[in-house]
Symmetry: D2
């Protein structure tokens, strides 16, 4: 029997916030690692609402079979208004107590971690977080669970759009997810040979975009893809398309908003392995007495980051990638 320093007997696990591919793989890892260390594992359904309303079920190791390659989250997820109140968190703590759950593993993003932190501060429920979001914007891990899958979903969609863009000599503005972070836009833009990439972290001007079009025309490019993150400061894809059409009436300009396909799908190997590793690490971290940290991966090693840091700081866009994009797309 492997050692359980903290003598935990019961651990709960939930997914919260927007779902991301790989959450099920993380859940499976949490459940099976609990079992390995002889801990009973409880699945909490519908995020924090499930704590408040007592939607809790014990999960044996075989209950998570065939989940590793499944998109979405079997536990379901939600954003809970009630849990944002002290009263709500008190109710949640009562449910936790009732079941004898001693600690939580919280799979989600910034908002989910903030909630867990408050539950700890007010009600003393220890927890470890696992970063589950497609946006890759959480500090303390090189990659978040779901990000790699989203990248490939987006690139496959843009590859398809490129077929028709090239066939018709069209300019396409494609909106991808990323309200505050341009990781998806930047990496998929490079991966699909986008002419230009607009992200929240960069101050782009419409003149820069028009400069790109002028260069492209000079080089003989007859079709172009512009990848735009949701949170881009320059304007939404529809406005960008309108301005472009005004400046270049001869262009055949189109818009596609990729939308929710980006959140689903069977996770990639990278996401399945990452989720599995973090799931094991989270349970082992609790056993080792850690609390209020996020399990992440940096340079292929497990690293625990204090949850406040994970929430407050942000991963920065690598300037080298922007340079790579500029060198490769402008020709």
């Amino acid at each position: 029997m492997p050692e359980n320093n903290n003598k935990y007997k019961k651990i709960g696990v939930l997914t919260s916030g927007g779902d991301s591919p790989g959450m099920n793989a993380a859940l499976r890892a949490v459940v099976r690692t609990c079992n390995y260390y002889d801990i009973n594992c409880y699945g909490i359904r519908m995020g924090y609402d499930g704590l408040i309303n007592d939607h809790i079920v014990e999960l044996g190791p075989r209950s998570v079979k065939n989940l590793i390659n499944k998109g979405g989250t079997e536990l379901k997820s939600a954003r809970s208004e009630e849990f944002r109140t002290v009263e709500g968190r008190k109710k949640a703590a009562e449910t936790i107590k009732k079941h004898g759950i001693e600690a939580l593993v919280v799979i989600g993003g910034d908002g989910s971690f903030t909630g867990a932190m408050k539950l700890y501060e007010e009600q003393g429920v220890p927890f470890i977080g696992i970063p589950g979001t497609i946006d890759n914007d959480i500090f303390g891990t090189d990659y978040t669970v779901g990000y790699d899958t989203a990248l490939n979903t987006v690139a496959e969609a843009i590859d398809k759009i490129r077929d028709t863009a090239t066939s018709h000599n069209r300019v396409f503005f494609i909106e991808v997810m990323g309200r505050d972070a341009g990781f998806i836009a930047l990496n998929t833009g490079i991966a699909t040979g986008a002419l230009d990439i607009l992200i929240p972290e960069e101050k782009d001007s419409i003149e820069d975009l028009f400069q790109s079009f002028d260069n492209a025309k000079k080089k003989g490019k007859t079709s172009s893809i512009i990848v735009v993150a949701e949170g881009d400061k320059l304007g939404g894809v529809y406005d960008l398309a309108k301005f472009t059409k005004m400046k270049y009436p001869e262009f055949d300009v189109r818009v596609t908003v990729l939308g929710h396909i980006q959140r689903g799908g069977s996770p990639t190997v990278a996401d399945r392995v990452l989720a599995s590793r973090l799931g094991v690490a989270a349970v082992e971290g609790l056993i080792d007495g850690r609390c209020c940290v996020m399990a992440g991966m940096q340079s292929s090693k497990i690293v625990f980051t204090p949850i406040e840091e994970a929430i407050k700081k942000h991963n920065e866009i690598d300037k080298e990638l922007i340079k790579v994009s500029n060198i490769l797309s402008m020709q």
Copy 2:
């Protein structure tokens, strides 16, 4: 040497209108079948504009290698305003004469066939059409080239959206292509277990839709997909979502417009084989002295349909499919 009854020496081929997956496979088949019968094949770029502006290149059998699995159209496509005029078609005929091209294979939809018919009537250029469009709305063939690929692209996207719909108990309105025809919506709706499917051919009422939601609630369904064809008469996806939210404020309602991803992608086997067969049939049809017909496939056999019929008549939605959808989705 196989027989060439019509003694053609030079045949031209073009793609016109919206592109569809499998057009390249059809092009490859036309080029290689010409070569097989010792006919020189000329590729016309950018649809009818390429005829007007003399963008024509001879295509040897090796020039189309590695094309069979490629989306889009290597010849490029366009809608030509000039070709809609008698003057434009006269210019086109001059280019055709200049190159010594004796007949055309036209890969496209209704509009493309109408243009070819006029060119024949006014200028005497014989042709055979190949139905290339994702909409499957052309009479005289069970399937159009690109339709099967579009079905699978749409279903894969909806499968992904379902992951997140289920995880969050959401209602999704998903718009798919089909301005005049509901084939894509109906088949992908059945294939993805949509709660309801709205198509141009059916008179739906908002009450029917609400009835579906009421039934679903009664059965305990917590998330739903509604597939809506572009051309649905009831209203666009955004309005439908708004009305639904008004009626059911407790629903978490979302909208996705799949857009141009539906036109691209590597063709499925069914589309590659269909395109190959029709490409062979079109060239052999010309050799056999046929003109002004469309090569199609009915019950797995090649059938030639007079082009006026192909344009005027329309494939009808199979009522049995609607019944199947009703039986399977309402539970």
Copy 3:
């Protein structure tokens, strides 16, 4: 309430023989159509062994949710030795009687239908069959459930192999499934531009194959794919590779046996819709008093074929397809 002429109250459903993608979609359709007609539906696990050993569970309409796009068969499948005996079938009939099951829907191939027929003749249990096999070799339906998915799985695999074949100027012999039927080999061979296709239905000679290689060399082809059905009479892929290497020592010859990946995967839209239609038709057929027939699809219409015909006769390879392959590949 829709009419139930035959007054059935309880119907059983099983999958038997090799599994195929879409079996779950057929199961879902059977279960939900039963529910629609107010019939209780019983799932029999592990094929006929489940009848013998009483592995039977009632299936409500919500028990088959999220199954339509899932590969394999949730009911599991098996080949049952015991059911081949009169004694075994007697035990099966006792289980059926015990549960009050009045009729069966059998999803499988030739062997599964033979078993059902014997059960009917000896024990009077009525049934309708649904053709579920990737091989497409069952008479009475244009397509079997799983065939279209297998075609696309194979073509995607060959597309990948072609990348490396082209990069290295290699000759690849690729074995695909099809012990008695060349449908998969012929259609995927055409779809991937194979130089030659070897199928059980055709008498190929090694000289024909070498002739293909000689032609290819003359045309300047530097890499080639040969698709070989398992049941090809000329010899297995390893022998073919050996003989080819002896004749053309300068060739870099490789072999790939695609194997069991061909049976799995999420079904295509065509398979999901086909399976859904046949599942509805099978239950409605029983209700209408039909027995001992197979529900199939011909020219897009539901057709019932006497089970003996379905077993004895075979779908024939379309000679036109072989001609298409010859014209397109030899250049």
Copy 4:
């Protein structure tokens, strides 16, 4: 104009050894980065044989369009016997001199780098290497170009096999690539929930494998996947299957060798971005006066490693991953 410290005017690029997905993305990046720095870029076809036989063509920036998402290598690749001789390398140097090429970018693995090093030592041709191989076994980079794509190709194949394994309660031995390295086997084994994973780096015993089977039986597992790297020391998949069947006659044991599908396919986003970054870095490295190094990525940063180190040292399997696999699979 960006600075070119080394005043290079002409750089050559080749792909050598086994091909891998992303080689074309690396080629595109090399060509366009050369153009960006006003250097003429020459593509050498068929690896080192192309140097010996003067198969060299100048590549402008538009010549590599639409290559970023294409599998295989457009330059083609080969293993050159002649280049292993001093005489061969002398001929190669003469070709290089004839074209005025001043430095090389070599995309390939260990063997390719060894060849480049000898060419440098004997003939003074400077070079930088880019690690292109699916095996991920090259020291100096966290990931090699093609590895991530191969992981996903393998996992998709195993997911399909799992469908049929589960449906039939079967045990599958699946051989994946990796003659000397278990990276593919270990990561895909974890990602697909394999019961056991056999890799060259670990000393496995048949008793350990049987122990896994015994545990699985105890836990109620009815089907199992065993992932085996080509280079596993315990024996090939066929022998393992035979021994397993002898020990457990009740098992339905099957074998699949995934083979060359693992080398092909459109590269993932991770591979496209990695290849793009290394392509830019290799050219900039040459410009900065570096030689005889490999451009790699460590912790998301570009790192140059002396080529001897890259060849001699090897990436080590992460023991933590083996532990993760053991915890998660044994339940």
